[in-house]
């Protein structure tokens, strides 16, 4: 018998997925009192993924025409369960409330004045809450809001290779909506994919370019002039692998 030419690792992955999903439908025993019968209950979550932030501000567009792209790591815990909110007065059995913390990176390259190379690197730390609603045992919708801080670093390099750079910190606020698709929903472990779209409102970060000097000679007094404020606000899109347990 001839089979479809699926690469062996992919075939194994699909088979594992099917095996993992099938028994999960029968093994959900850890349920919240009052929760719907076939919905899994997990208390903790780890997510790992990547995403992009479209840069729309004039300051960011002055440095690059690209979007910030990078990775993200997040953890979350079912806050409603810890606080005992899921009692009879809880409005919806499928609605859960989570506390989240995340770390996101991003980078973009560009050109300034057609001759200078620019690089923007960004690190973001956020904490917030999310509300998730299970519309199906494998599907959840969520909204989240987070506050945090981000570090932005800008480097500008000329044709000779010499560069000037600076970094700074600023606050950010993020709101997004997410679609969770769970591939497996075992009682003590769930694995899925999260599609997330939202918007980051970021504080403009004041930057003043500096250059390194390799020698230790006594230098003249220096008066650097500010490059201005870098605004990394923009809409975001992310995809991440989510593990719940």
């Amino acid at each position: 018998m001839r089979t479809l030419p699926i690469a062996r690792p992919a075939a194994v992955w699909f088979a594992s997925l099917a095996l993992a999903a099938a028994p999960a439908a029968r093994a959900d025993t850890d349920r919240d009192p009052g929760a719907a019968a076939d919905f899994p209950v997990h208390r903790d979550e780890i997510s790992l993924g990547g995403g992009a932030r479209a840069l729309r501000s004039p300051s960011a567009n002055a440095l690059t025409a690209a979007n910030l792209a990078g990775a993200s790591v997040g953890i979350a815990r079912d806050l409603g369960r810890d606080l005992g909110l899921y009692d009879a007065a809880w409005p919806l059995h499928q609605l859960t409330l989570w506390a989240e913390a995340g770390f996101v990176t991003g980078a973009a390259d560009g050109t300034l004045f057609q001759t200078l190379s620019t690089t923007i690197d960004q690190l973001g730390f956020t904490a917030g809450v999310a509300a998730r609603y299970r519309v199906h045992r494998r599907v959840a919708l969520g909204v989240r809001g987070a506050l945090g801080a981000q570090r932005a670093r800008v480097a500008i390099t000329d044709g000779s290779g010499s560069s000037a750079y600076d970094h700074g910190w600023g606050t950010l606020a993020q709101a997004s909506a997410a679609l969770d698709l769970f591939l497996t929903t075992r009682p003590h472990f769930g694995l899925g994919v999260r599609l997330d779209a939202g918007y980051v409102a970021a504080q403009g970060i004041a930057l003043t370019l500096h250059s390194d000097r390799s020698d230790d000679a006594m230098l003249l007094a220096m008066r650097p002039l500010s490059l201005g404020h870098l605004d990394l606000s923009g809409p975001t899109a992310a995809i991440s692998l989510v593990a719940q347990f």
Binding site: N61, D158, L219, L220, A221, M222, G228, H229, D231
Partner: protein
């Protein structure tokens, strides 16, 4: 982009050629002419000029500018370009439908090599006593005069065939009191005088001028290689022309066209007059400097180790014997530069600018200076007390106190690219950083503790700018 400073260096005039957006996020930018006023910080004043011109001529009073194309070629990115198009910009008023005024000058096959704008000149005896600025547009074989106060009127084209074949006008000096200009041309026999005389316009032609251009040859008697103009103590305008073909220097009374020839054995190609503190100059200096080509002939000229000094005070006296004084030097002259504020000149002896001399015109004495490296950029302090020099790649600025020729150095943090002396006595050392990096030294005698390094001035506030 092309930029030139105003004569007083308080304003900078910039042409940005404009771009049409290519990538998302970019916006169209038309060709613009910008005026940046260093004395009054604020947004630059802009004028849309319609075409990507790449040269600017500014009137001496700074009230008018003309943007035009360089003779070397127009913007290669365009489909059609008109090399004889000009944008006449009235800088005293904001941009409007008539400002800038786009004009195309009549051409006989040539394109502008340069434009000289006159100081405000009133036509003597004319019905309109308002001083105006006239543009003298130089192109091979043709001199075009345009009344920039009325750019809608016809331009006046002057064929230079009468001055010789293949004549290329090179330099114009003005006599505003007589509404005249003196034109030195390559391959011309003489200096041309162009006098603007009033003439009632044709009432049936709204574009007719109220003047005519009267051209006369001033008897230099040979192809002038350099000219200088000054007003003597009586207010008489005098033109000095060097004619290397005849080994003479010709002194011409611009009002009467009378001239006096002074023989000098060397083929002089540089004429300098030295204004004195009390007004009219008293001395003129003549030199034969090395040049790649002479008068457009393609013939290289070797510098000579001699200078000639002429006393100007008695030139008007026909009975006075006028004889230039020869000043012998050790080495050929590559360049001669007047030092501001006194009767001194800097003599550059080689093209690497490593051997210099300071000539005191009062005593005709020269003092040698040796540069450790090539003098790539130099300036004089506004009072003429110091020579300030820089060598690229050497992180130092050199000062020479010109009263006693005492040299000193100032150590910099970065190699210099260009040095400027500002009118308030400060020294601006540019380090050619794309971000803007300059060392500001308060005075030639200041120490390192008094200086500051200004960085990032070319990108200052870049991220705060709105598109």
């Amino acid at each position: 982009m092309y930029a030139v400073p105003s004569e007083d260096r308080h304003r900078l005039f910039v042409i940005t050629r404009g771009e049409q957006a290519v990538h998302p996020g970019e916006i169209d930018q038309p060709p613009m002419f910008w005026v940046v006023d260093a004395q009054h910080p604020g947004p630059a004043v802009s004028y849309p000029i319609g075409s990507p011109f790449d040269r600017i001529a500014v009137s001496p009073d700074g009230n008018l500018a003309i943007a035009y194309y360089a003779a070397g070629g127009t913007d290669p990115d365009g489909v059609f370009r008109n090399p004889n198009e000009l944008a006449v910009i009235d800088l005293t008023r904001a941009a409007d439908a008539g400002n800038p005024a786009l004009e195309t000058i009549r051409s006989f096959g040539s394109v502008p090599d340069g434009i000289a704008l006159s100081p405000p000149m009133a036509l003597p005896g004319g019905a309109d006593p308002t001083p105006r600025t006239f543009a003298f547009i130089l192109s091979a074989g043709t001199l075009t005069v345009l009344d920039t106060t009325h750019p809608d009127r016809h331009e006046v084209s002057i064929r230079l065939d009468l001055a010789g074949s293949g004549v290329i006008p090179r330099a114009v000096v003005f006599a505003p009191d007589t509404a005249s200009a003196y034109v030195r041309s390559d391959l011309a026999r003489d200096v041309l005088q162009v006098a603007l005389e009033p003439q009632p316009p044709d009432p049936t032609d709204p574009g007719d001028n109220d003047f005519r251009a009267v051209v006369a040859e001033l008897g230099a008697g040979g192809g002038p290689s350099d000219v200088a103009v000054y007003d003597d103590a009586t207010g008489r305008r005098v033109v000095i022309a060097a004619t290397p073909d005849t080994h003479q220097v010709v002194v011409i009374d611009a009002n009467t066209a009378q001239f006096r020839s002074i023989p000098i054995p060397d083929p002089i190609n540089r004429v300098l007059v030295f204004p004195s503190a009390d007004g009219p100059p008293h001395r003129a200096l003549f030199a034969t400097i090395s040049a790649a080509s002479a008068a457009g002939t393609g013939t290289a000229v070797a510098g000579l180790p001699r200078l000639w000094l002429l006393d100007l005070d008695h030139l008007a006296d026909p009975l006075a014997q006028v004889a230039p004084v020869e000043i012998d030097l050790d080495q050929p002259v590559h360049d001669v530069v007047p030092i501001p504020g006194g009767d001194r000149a800097l003599i550059v002896h080689d093209d690497a600018r490593t051997v210099l001399g300071v000539l005191d015109l009062a005593t005709a004495a020269t003092s040698p200076l040796l540069g450790a490296g090539q003098l790539d950029s130099y300036a004089f302090s506004p009072t003429g007390d110091y020579l300030i020099g820089a060598t690229q790649g050497v992180a130092r600025i050199g000062f020479v106190e010109l009263d006693n020729l005492h040299p000193t150095d100032f150590r910099l943090d970065d190699p210099p690219d260009h040095v400027l002396a500002t009118a308030n006595g400060k020294i601006f050392v540019d380090h050619a950083s794309p971000f803007g990096r300059a060392t500001i030294i308060p005075s030639p005698t200041a120490g390192r503790g008094d200086a500051i390094v200004l960085t990032g001035f070319l990108t200052a506030g870049l991220l705060d700018e709105e598109p």
